[in-house]
């Protein structure tokens, strides 16, 4: 027992662990310095942008910064009756600065989003302030309330108070078609305006089926690749990789040529008499187009991990299974298939995650019923310029991917993934 507690010394009398650390320190520093560039690259191009996205998605500081005195005064207000004189005084002095800096328009825009009707009453108040109609000697409250009847409505003041916190989760709620009601409770958007939930579900549905189709098509191809003699398998491999090397846009465009109503596929169907010439099915600008094009485009991501796993499975295992009395199906199902699960996991995870965030293809061939959540994100980034909402949805998508990954880890185990 004493040998366990006794410290082992080197021949020079230094404890072995100390000596080992000293000997390895140099290598450790070298190894760390080697990964520093990559680490920095990751931080700058990945961690920081995601952090920025997150801050942007919850950022609501604009009004907070515009109306500092108002919100200080509002802290004592219970939010039920009309606010007291101090709140009006604070609001007036904040507003004067905004008028001077010509920033009242922004305030109107932001508050109007919170509650309809702010636009006009802020414009009215602006004109009064500009013409110096407000007498600072008298009650500011009375004078502001006279500007417009809505200034006498407590709901509008409640709306202002709601914008006080510098951070908000409203964008996330909006992403699932919900919003904060006047009392701060969470409400559902009217049924006919719930577009995001449909998009989320459709994204999941399309990603799921694209993964399924890629799997069903990719598995035999990968098997063929792994078992054919070298000269044929190389050719087949090029056939798999060639589309991979072709521009995504070109491939999508070629699908548009193939799938349109006067396109090649429809022509072929008419030729073999499958459909009537005046009744050509629409295969583009809907889900069909999205399924077909995305499956084709994502297929290599399924084939390659499967191939790399299948390549390592010795053909003698199947032979052993058969020689031991298993029918070809039993040998496949009990021996070959379980051994390909790491590849299936990797391929499905890869295709599903890529499909969930796919953008160009659904944008071009998806039409109205084939667009995905990423197209909505792009729409908010480019058209409405609501970057914080786009960020919120982007992060929700990222969270979704992480959840998929987590479920996968629970079911299959990430250790079992084999990408190559």
């Amino acid at each position: 027992m004493s040998s366990e507690t006794q410290q082992i010394l080197t021949t020079d009398g230094i404890p072995l662990s100390v000596s080992l650390k000293k000997a390895e320190r140099k290598n450790k520093i070298k190894a760390f310095l080697l990964v520093v560039p990559l680490l920095l690259f990751l931080i700058i191009t990945y961690i920081l942008p995601i952090g920025d996205m997150f801050m942007r998605s919850i950022d609501d500081k604009m009004v907070t910064n515009m109306l500092p005195k108002t919100f200080t005064a509002m802290e004592k207000w219970d939010g039920k009756e009309m606010p007291p004189e101090e709140v009006f005084v604070g609001f007036y002095s904040d507003f004067k600065i905004l008028v001077k800096n010509k920033e009242h328009g922004k305030l109107a825009q932001r508050l109007n989003k919170e509650k309809n009707g702010f636009n006009s009453i802020i414009k009215k108040l602006f004109r009064q302030v500009q013409r110096n109609k407000i007498d600072e000697g008298q009650s500011i409250k009375e004078q502001i309330m006279k500007v417009h009847k809505r200034w006498r409505d407590v709901e509008y003041w409640q709306a202002i108070k709601r914008t006080a916190p510098p951070y908000t989760t409203a964008k996330y709620l909006k992403g699932v078609d919900m919003y904060y009601g006047p009392d701060g409770n969470i409400l559902q958007v009217d049924e006919d305006r719930r577009i995001h939930r449909i998009l989320w579900l459709r994204t999941l549905e399309i990603a799921f089926f694209v993964t399924l189709f890629s799997f069903l098509m990719g598995y035999p191809i990968a098997h063929l690749l792994a078992t054919l003699p070298m000269k044929y398998s190389n050719l087949l491999m090029i056939c798999v990789l060639l589309p991979f090397w072709t521009s995504l846009l070109v491939r999508t465009a070629s699908w548009m040529i193939l799938l349109q109503q006067q396109g090649i596929v429809n022509d072929f169907f008419v030729m073999i008499g499958l459909v009537a010439d005046d009744n050509r099915p629409e295969m583009m600008y809907n889900k069909v187009g999205t399924y077909v094009a995305m499956t084709q485009i994502l297929l290599p991501f399924m084939v390659l991990p499967l191939y790399s796993v299948m390549k390592t499975i010795s053909p003698s295992l199947m032979r052993a299974g058969k020689s031991l009395g298993g029918t070809p199906f039993v040998a496949f199902w009990k021996i070959y298939f379980p051994l390909t699960i790491p590849g299936i996991g990797a391929g499905c995870l890869l295709v599903f995650i890529l499909a969930i965030g796919y953008y160009i293809t659904p944008a071009l061939v998806g039409g109205a019923s084939g667009t995905l959540i990423s197209n909505q994100i792009a729409y908010h980034m480019k058209t409405t310029l609501d970057w914080s909402f786009a960020s919120a949805m982007g992060l929700m998508l990222l969270t979704g991917v992480l959840v998929v990954y987590w479920i996968y880890n629970k079911l299959v185990g990430v250790d079992n993934i084999k990408l190559g």
């Binding site: 010795s314 003698s316 295992l317 032979r319 052993a320 299974g321 058969k322 020689s323 031991l324 009395g325 298993g326 029918t327 070809p328 039993v330 040998a331 009990k334 021996i335 379980p338 051994l339």
Partner: protein
């Protein structure tokens, strides 16, 4: 109990993969029930192809294979009931040892209790009891090998095929596994068809050996006959060591022949020479040639020692004898041949019976 002498029968089997080259040519081979037969040959000689045809993974291009008098060419591998041990064991890596052994029993719909009993028995036969729950990756090469053997035997097949099963093991382990497999064969009496390119493995294990070359069986006989009485120069060359002289028959009478070499003449035992004037290769095993023989031998020639290599239990001596500078002698180290020194001239003798005049190389 009379054993079926034609339990496995290859009848005029040809095999070609590409329609141009015959890998196996006109193979006729009978294997008796309970026999341990080895197919021995250099790589590419067609021996593994024969095994694969018997297992059902390749189909004969021509001819038929019979198992217990039934033609089996049209029976798929899983219905042949032939056990097989593969070169790299082919254990199922995702199954435990127990599951590996239970696989052939489960597909035969054997009850759970019987499976347990049979797996137990098979594992104890290869002395691996207690390893049921290990994964193949947790076993050493030798243990994996034994599991593979147990798996090939667990469902009581009538024939077990082994395709270079010991190729991946190190030398000591290989030797002990050779004995182990031999003992298992002796105990359960199953017919074993064994493929190897290692002649010592073939010699120690088999009842009979079929030497393959160029798609043909060159010689099929027991190990001792194969070594002592090779029927052609390929077998003589392939099995063990041998010294050769190329020459021409100048006399043939009374079971001996006289062969004229480039330097001198020797007497030999005519095996595959028919008449005077034939070219021949004479083969002599190193241990059959003696230094300064005490008894009278009909071949006696002087040679010069060109190389002496110490091998522990014996010394190998390379001589220049009758123009052949590759003549090897094996001298036991216990003998008193003290004049084995480089450059010495010594007298070498052998009986003409041991010098086999075979086909010319």
């Amino acid at each position: 109990m009379s054993k079926n002498q034609e339990f496995v029968k290859f009848d005029k089997v040809d095999k070609s993969y590409d329609g141009k080259v015959l890998v196996v040519k006109d193979l006729n081979l009978d294997i008796a029930e309970g026999e341990f037969i080895t197919m021995l040959g250099p790589s590419g000689s067609g021996k593994t192809t024969c095994l694969m045809m018997l297992a059902g993974f390749e189909t004969p291009t021509n001819g038929e294979i019979y198992l217990d008098a039934n033609p089996i060419s049209n029976i798929p591998p899983h219905k042949r009931g032939i056990g097989m041990v593969f070169q790299n064991y082919a254990l199922f890596p995702h199954m435990t040892v127990y599951e590996n052994l239970a696989f052939p029993l489960k597909v035969r719909k054997i009850s759970k209790d019987d499976i347990d009993k049979k797996v137990d028995k098979a594992l104890s036969m290869v002395s691996l009891s207690g390893f049921e729950n290990r994964m193949p990756a947790q076993l050493s090469g030798g243990q994996q090998q034994r599991v593979a053997v147990a798996r090939a035997l667990v469902f009581d097949p009538t024939v077990v095929l082994m395709d270079e099963p010991l190729g991946a093991l190190d030398k000591n382990l290989r030797e002990s596994m050779q004995y182990e497999i031999k003992h298992i064969h002796e105990n359960i009496g199953v017919t074993v068809v064994y493929v190897t390119h290692d002649q010592s493995e073939a010699l120690t294990m088999s009842n009979r050996i079929a030497v393959f070359n160029d798609g043909k069986v060159q010689q099929l006989s027991s190990p001792d006959k194969l070594y002592e009485e090779p029927v052609n120069s390929f077998v003589a060359e392939f099995i063990g060591e041998n010294n050769t002289f190329g020459g021409e028959i100048i006399d043939l009478s009374n079971g001996t022949c006289k062969v004229k070499l480039s330097h001198g003449e020797i007497f030999a035992n005519p095996i595959s020479v028919k008449s005077k004037g034939d070219r021949t290769t004479v083969s002599i095993r190193p241990e059959r040639a003696l230094i300064n023989p005490e008894n009278k031998m009909d071949n006696n020639h002087a040679g010069t020692i060109e190389e002496v290599i110490y091998h522990g239990d014996h010394t190998r001596v390379r001589l220049n004898l009758l123009g052949n500078s590759e003549f090897i002698l094996k001298v036991p180290n216990s003998s008193k041949n003290l004049d084995i020194k480089l450059g010495n001239k010594i007298n070498i003798g052998w009986n003409s019976q041991d010098a086999r005049a075979l086909d010319p190389k």
